[in-house]
Each structure stands twice: as structure tokens, then as C-alpha cells.
Subunit: 285 residues, 4 copies
């Protein structure tokens, strides 16, 4: 794979944006690999993901970041983020006691399936330490009680900083993060919820789904914001259940939904294919 | 197809039920075509669907109904319903202005796909009268206002009685039925709701799904009881949507979910494959 | 909906194509509505679908067609096709005796779901004439025998010309078209095949699927070329079957796959979202 | 879970089988947990799976095996197999170099999700030895060349015997077994094939699927018999692909299909829910 730059843009829609952005790349000797755009006509907003090869491009990554694009950005009031394929972001996995999502993430990580690396695992329990060791990933046990929550989160943020983490993955963490924490990592915390949101927000969704007599169970991978289970949805999936399934069957079957959907969300985020806008996500597939 | 009897049974679980029921059929010269059973171990309840050929069977349908099975039924306190494949039940379709579900039901009916017949169409609008005429099905326009609801329902029940209707299908009827009505047809009214229940109960589910930014839209076919949108779920289905879809796209895409799911629910009911227990359905597939 | 131009482009990949195309639109006062591109890196080929508003655009549709874009097209050796949203193409439906696909297409047509119109129905049988009349679409009975095939096709091509047809839809037509015919409508004939191609090419796919004991049945919507059942695949879908299903069940269940998939293929084609390249389709979704 | 007996029966269809079998269980004080049956009316064959609690049952497992049921079996010429939930069968996993299926099976095994145990791993390569050690499962490296195939298989059969293996799982083994081997384990070898059979039988299915331009890729879990890739299909699954996916994407995406489908096949087999008849499987779900 060649080294590329990926830009995610959003701005008010107006004529000439695509022409300006593509001209900037072309005139500076860049070769566009992919470009995808979306216009929200109701809101008059324009969104774009564009990727181009840096080999032969006039500007270095630093120069792009520090101004080469600024004239166009100012002209159209573009809000943009810039990534470089050679700079693989670090992610941290938060876990509690369940291992299925963690194992799935670690196996994908070991296969180099992600455009990023798992740099640490943080848990409020010690049970999954052995798994971390098998995969040779640093494991931090940060105990959490009702009393020490602020301190514990401060410690967690410290660890994230040490590891230069830009994506936090809640792999069945089962703990609510404070606004202080979620604000630091706005749209950079991915959670897997074991229901088809907005059905069964909150605790024990499989139990409530069973009680309601649903015929499909679901899972939702989403960004976490201040409203629990109400952040922008990245993707959803469902699986058939029957009257024969008891709650334990829902839980067992749901595990497959959860782990596959979680890694899908992570992969999309790390490939810079997601843009959160209002309370939804734009997915450049 | 040979003429068969179909029995749906439910009772408290105990040893010997299956042996007793199958012995009753065998000893009276019946040939079992299919048998399916389910035990709810939490509640200690037993459910069964059994079908046997009537050709050569010692008892006539009337004799079975009027007592041949009564000894066994009393011994195990079995609650049972008995159907005969030659007696095709009549159904009524309630519609408002949307035609897609009605057309789907009428087309299947014309193909003899149902083990039952559409005997009339009732609508609070006149718009779909032409469709009814094309398919040669009696059409009744029963206007409904806030004021005349009780009278209108009385008229509807009268029509249903005239046509000997045992299944009411709400094909996007968009009107709430009174408890008086739903009690008469308990677990014999099938509705199609355009969301993945219990998400988006009530009005305008596609609008609310769009606002929430879901990635899958759903539909639910269910029995109607006194609690709107909370009756036993028969089946559910979902379809992928993207950020590019506006509400009108949700509505358009959802139509395919709705009509296919509705006819599936009707077919299962008419084949006596559904047993409502508590707030869920047991499906003998 | 505003009037737009849609261009489908393909050419050898090189720097500057996107910049040139978008600059052409921008500098002539066009507003890009959507743009999607794909590069086949193995073959070094570039493909694009771009749509822009014609309101305020410097050139009329005729001027675009007759030269405004020619300089760029020549520079990059672009093979392009140009469509205008106000010019709705005509399609013809070829049917034999089965009605489910025809009804689906006609219902969608009556709902204005297609960006095109059904202008005539051609059949080698008379059975579906009544359906055509209900929907007020001209119906042509063109008998086909082993002996008269060439003549019959000549008559069909004549009818297509009279109706200015640019898309031929084989809605369970069950007849093989000659190369002479398929060459005239290359990549403009859409067929629905009742198997998951390339499994069960040819006749009686459901029978063979049943014999093989498959657990999923499929359908394939594809362009028809000289090799029967081997044209570029547009889309595919599957449905679960069980050991309980006999061939008649496969056929009945398969009908839902077939009709929904066929209309999806038609809709994508009429929205100019498909580009056939080699033996596959590029889908700009 | 209570200890239960599970019986899989097949015989020519005739009146009284179900009554006889259920009476046998009831009269000997057994409590039927589940019963499922299927009649193939074309062939006049009857199939049944019945499970009952052994607690309080008059006969011991040995007595059932050695004759208690023989009178009924003879009367109806029933071919039956009998299993006991407390006797967990042993399985062997055959692998080559790919680890995804192996990891999935071992993780499920470690979660006690199977009604059976992985007792050994056999491989023609040494690469996955470490994985076996992590999960504490004996690993045997049996090299295979064109020359030593007979000897190698003899050694493999020896290992299987040592471990009392009754189910052989080919987890991407990529080697063809001889008839001698498959005959020993008829309908007890499960393979995962990376295509939607019968499409792309044989080698490199993803490459050929890509070349054909399919829009869905598939996988098939099946019993292995003498005809490669033509044994009774247990289950199949598919996944959407697009024109953007290169062969490597097919392979990567397909891994998820393969591993989930393989463990589903294993679980169904170990729960005695599969009956191979002719070239298909009857699934008692």
C-alpha cells in the first residue's frame, strides 16, 4: 500500500467545493485514490471523504496540516480533519468480565486487519489479564467503585495519554463514563450495545427483549456521548430468535452479533470512513 | 391435498400427554402428518400442534368436536382448538388509503396461497374501491370520525358477522380499534406495524427512525390487543438504510418489508401455526 | 426534483480526471449533486458517475451532447454516456405465462417508482393480456416457435423501435434471445434468473437446487449477453429453505426473491447507477 | 441440565410409529423433553428426533441400547441411533495453516458451548502448534505428501482411535481425504467450504467468484463423502460484496462466514439434530 492522505470535510453546501478540492490535489501533483461525497439537502450541508497518494505530492504531511489547504478551507468555511495512512492510530480497549468482544478485537489486531493498533487494555476487573498477556498487550487494572469514579477516570485518562490513544473501544465495559471523560473523547469512543437501539436502551436488554417476545435480537455499535445509548449509530445488525430460546440463548447468540459488529465499527472508524453529524453518522463506504 | 384435522393444544406439562394424544389418533385409525411440540420449562407449560389425515379416521369432524377427545382433554386439562383443512376460514381486510399491503394480500389470495379466503374489504376511505372491484371482492366504506367511532365499529362487526369472518387483517388501516372490538377478535386481528417493535411504537415510526439515525429499518406483524402496538409479535424483519436515505426513502423501502411480512403473518395464522401465550407467540414451523 | 444531467464515465486512470470533470461543471455554473468514482487498480481503469443541476448551467443538454465536454473527453480518452433526468427512458416488458414479476413491475410503474416508464408488454402467450389492460399498457402477442424465431424477433425489434424502448426487461420470459437481438440491446436487457448464479445455470434451477439439498435458494438479476445466464450480474439475493420444502415451496418462496430483485435491477439501471465492465457491474449506490 | 436420552429414528412411514415410540417412553416412566418429526411424502420415509429425561426411566442407557426398544424397532423396521446427554463425544480438528476456524472452534470449546469436546488437533503443518498449546489441546503433526498419503491417513486414524473420536472437523484443512478415510467416518466428517455450493466447487472459490463478478459470497458447511464438495449440506450463509472488493477482500470477509458457519454445523451435529438422508440433511431445530 502506498502512503496516502485522507481528508474528511464538512461545510455548508455551495458550488465549487469539489472542483476546488480536487484541483488543489491535482495541481499539487496528487493522485486521487477515492472520493466520496454526500449532500444533506435538508440542512444544506456538504460532506466529503477524499484520499490521495502522497508519493510525488508537492507538500509534506506537515505542510498540508500547517497551511497548504488553508486558503480553500477558509473560502468555503470547511471543517476538515486530515489523516495519513502511515500514521496508525492507537486504540485502548476497555473491558470488564466478558471476553468475546476483546478476543475478537485482539485476533483482528494480530491479523493486522485494522488500520490502527491496540496499545493497551483497561479493565475494572482482573479476570482478562491472562488474555492480554497471551496477545502481549499491556493490561491495566483500574478498580471502579461508586466512591472512586472520578479518580479512576483520571487514572484511565492518564493511561490513555501515555499510550497516545485516539480511539477508546468499550468492549462490553458495562460502566457508564462521566461527561468529563466522554467530552475528552467526543466521537472517539465506540461502544457495542446489545440491542437494536432505540429499543431496549439501558440495562439487561436481552432480558427485556425476551420478555417482550421479539423474533429478532439486535446489536448496535455507536459513538458514546453524554446521553447513554443515544450517541450516533455506526451500524446495527440483527439475528433470528424463536420462542424456544430462553434468555441464556439470546445472550449466547447475541455474542456473535456483538463481536462482529464491534470490529466492523472499529475498522470503519480507523479507516476514517465515519463522520458524525448531529446525532447520526455518515458512512463513506 | 388430503383432508386433515389440525389440533393446537396447551396445558400444564406432565408425563404422558404426547403418548395419550398420539395414541388417540392412532387407535382411531388416524395417520399423523406432522407433530410439533414445545415445553416452556420456566412456566411448566406444554404446547403442541398435531395434524392427521381424516381419511379413514373413526370420528367425523363433528364427533371429534363434540366429545371424542374430551376424556383426554379432561385428564390433562388441555385447552385445545380444532381445525379442519377443508373448512377454509374467511378473512376481512381493513384498509385506509395505502394500497401496497392490500394488493399483496389480494394477489396472494388470487393465487390461492392462503389456507383461507378474503371475503370482504372494509375501509374508512373510498380510494381503494377500484382495487377491490378488480379482484371482485366486496368493498364496504365505513366512515370513521371521532364522533361516530362506536357506531362505525358496530357496523364493521355486523359486516364481519355477515361474512362469517374469523380473521381481521389490518393492512395499514391507521385507525385504533376499541377494546370492545379487539376483545371480540382476541388474537384474531393481525396488524402490520412499520417499525421494529418495541422501537418506535405509535405514530410516524419512519420519521422517528430517521431522526434517530438508525441503520436498519424494521417492520413487525403482530396480534392486536388492547395495548396499541403491544400485542404478541408474530414476526419481524429489517432492511438496511443509509445516511443518504431521507424519510421518503424509508417509507418507500419499508413498503416491501410491510407487505411481505404481513402476508407471512396471515399465512402462518391461517395454517394454524401460531399460538399466543402470555405476550408472545409460539410458532410451529 | 430539479432537472439534472447524469454522466457515466470510464477511461484509463490518470491524474487530473476528477479535477478536470468537476472544473468543467463548476466553471460552467453547474452544481454537483452527487459524485461517485471507482478505480480498478488491477486494470488501471477509472469509472465515475456524476450528477449536476442543469438549472443555471451554461450549456443546454444538446450543447453538452454535441461538444461542450468533447475537449476533456478527448484529452483523457473518456468513454462517456450522458443522461438527463427529465428525459425518462421507455422500457418494454417481455413475459410468458407467470405474472408475479410483471405485476411487481407494473405496480411500481404505477407508483412512479422508476425513473422511466413501461411503454409496452410483449408476450409469446396471450394469458397476461388482461393484466396489461388493467394497467392500461399496450400488449403485443408475438408467437414464437422454433421455426419463426427470426421473424418473431424482427417483429419484436420493430415494436421496440415504435415505442422508442431503451431497456428490455425479461420478466420470466423463459425464451432464449438470439445474438442478433442481444447485440442490438447490449447491456440494456435485464433478466431475472431463479438461482444464485453461477449455481444452477440453465433450466429448472429450483428442481436442481432441491435435488442438491441446498439450504438457501437464490435469484440473480443480470444483463443478458450472448452467453445465456452469464452476463454481468447486477445483484443477487437468497432466502432460507428447509428440508421440509418441496420443489413447489422453492418455486413459491422464490417468487418473492425474483420480483423484488428484478425491480431493484430495473431501478438501478434507470437511475444510471450501473456500469458494465468486462463481465461484472460497477454499482454507484 | 438433567440427563436425557436422544433418539434419531428413520423408517418407512406407516401409521402408529409416533404412538408406539411415545408410548414406549411414557409407559416406562420417561418424560419427553422434545419431539420433532418429518415425513418425506415423496419417498414415504419417516424421520424423528425425540429426547426424554432418564431420571426415573425404567431402563438404564445400557438396557435401552441392548434391547428394551428392540420390539418396536423391529415392528416398524426402524433404523435408530441412541445418544445420552451425559456422554459427551470427542472431536478432532484437522487444520493446515489458517487459524480463524480453529480459533473459533477452540474458543467455543473453552466456553463449553458444544455438547462435546475437542480432544485433539491434527495438522499437516506445524504452524498452529502454539495455538493448540494455548488452549491445552494435544497437537499432532502428521506430514502429508503425495507419496505418504496412505501411511499418513493410517496414522491419523490411529490418533482418532486413541482419542475415541467420533466427529472429525476439517477446519480449512485443504487436503482431500481418501475414500478409505471418509468411509470410516461416514456422515461424521464436517467440512467448511468457502463457497455457496454447488457454485465454485473445488479449488480457489473466492478467486473464481471474483472473476464471475458475484454480488454475494457464500460458505457451506457439509458432511464429507467420497465426492469432494458434494456431501450432504448442513447449512449455508452468504455475505454481500461489491465491485470495490478485490479477491483479498473476499477472503477476509469470507473468514467470518466460514468460522461462524463451521461452529454452527458442529453444534447441530453434537446436539444430534442432523440426519443425513440421501444427499441432504434433515435438521431438527
Amino acid at each position: 500500500m502506498k502512503n496516502t492522505a485522507i481528508m474528511l470535510l464538512s461545510c455548508r453546501d455551495s458550488k465549487g467545493i469539489v472542483a476546488a478540492v480536487t484541483a488543489f490535489i491535482y495541481q499539487n501533483n496528487g493522485n486521487i485514490v477515492t472520493a466520496d461525497q454526500y449532500t444533506d439537502f435538508d440542512d444544506g450541508m456538504f460532506f466529503m471523504r477524499i484520499e490521495w497518494e502522497l508519493d510525488g505530492f508537492r507538500f509534506t504531511p506537515d505542510e498540508i496540516k500547517n497551511g497548504a489547504f488553508s486558503e480553500i478551507a477558509e473560502k468555503f468555511a470547511i471543517d476538515y480533519r486530515l489523516y495519513f495512512s502511515e500514521q496508525k492510530p492507537n486504540m485502548a480497549i476497555f473491558v470488564s468480565t466478558q471476553d468475546h468482544c476483546l478476543l475478537e478485537v485482539l485476533w483482528r489486531n494480530s491479523q493486522n486487519e485494522f488500520k490502527g493498533n491496540v496499545s493497551c487494555i483497561i479493565s475494572n476487573h482482573k479476570g482478562l489479564k491472562k488474555v492480554a498477556e497471551n496477545f502481549k498487550i499491556p493490561f491495566y487494572h483500574v478498580e471502579k467503585t461508586l466512591e472512586n469514579k472520578a479518580e479512576a477516570e483520571a487514572r484511565e485518562l492518564e493511561i490513555l495519554q501515555e499510550h497516545d490513544v485516539t480511539l477508546v473501544v468499550l468492549a462490553k465495559y458495562m460502566q457508564i463514563l462521566s461527561n468529563r471523560f466522554t467530552d475528552v473523547y467526543a466521537n472517539r469512543i465506540i461502544n457495542i450495545h446489545h440491542s437494536f437501539l432505540p429499543a431496549f436502551e439501558g440495562a439487561r436488554p436481552y432480558h427485556r427483549a425476551h420478555e417482550r417476545g421479539v423474533k429478532l435480537i439486535g446489536a448496535t455499535v455507536h459513538y458514546v456521548n453524554q446521553d447513554l445509548d443515544r450517541g450516533p449509530i455506526i451500524d446495527q445488525a440483527v439475528m433470528r430468535v424463536s420462542h424456544k430460546d430462553v434468555v441464556a440463548d439470546f445472550i449466547r447468540k447475541g455474542r456473535d452479533l456483538e463481536r462482529l459488529l464491534l470490529v466492523r465499527g472499529i475498522a470503519l472508524h480507523l479507516d476514517h470512513r465515519l463522520l458524525a453529524y448531529k446525532n447520526r453518522t455518515i458512512l463513506f463506504e
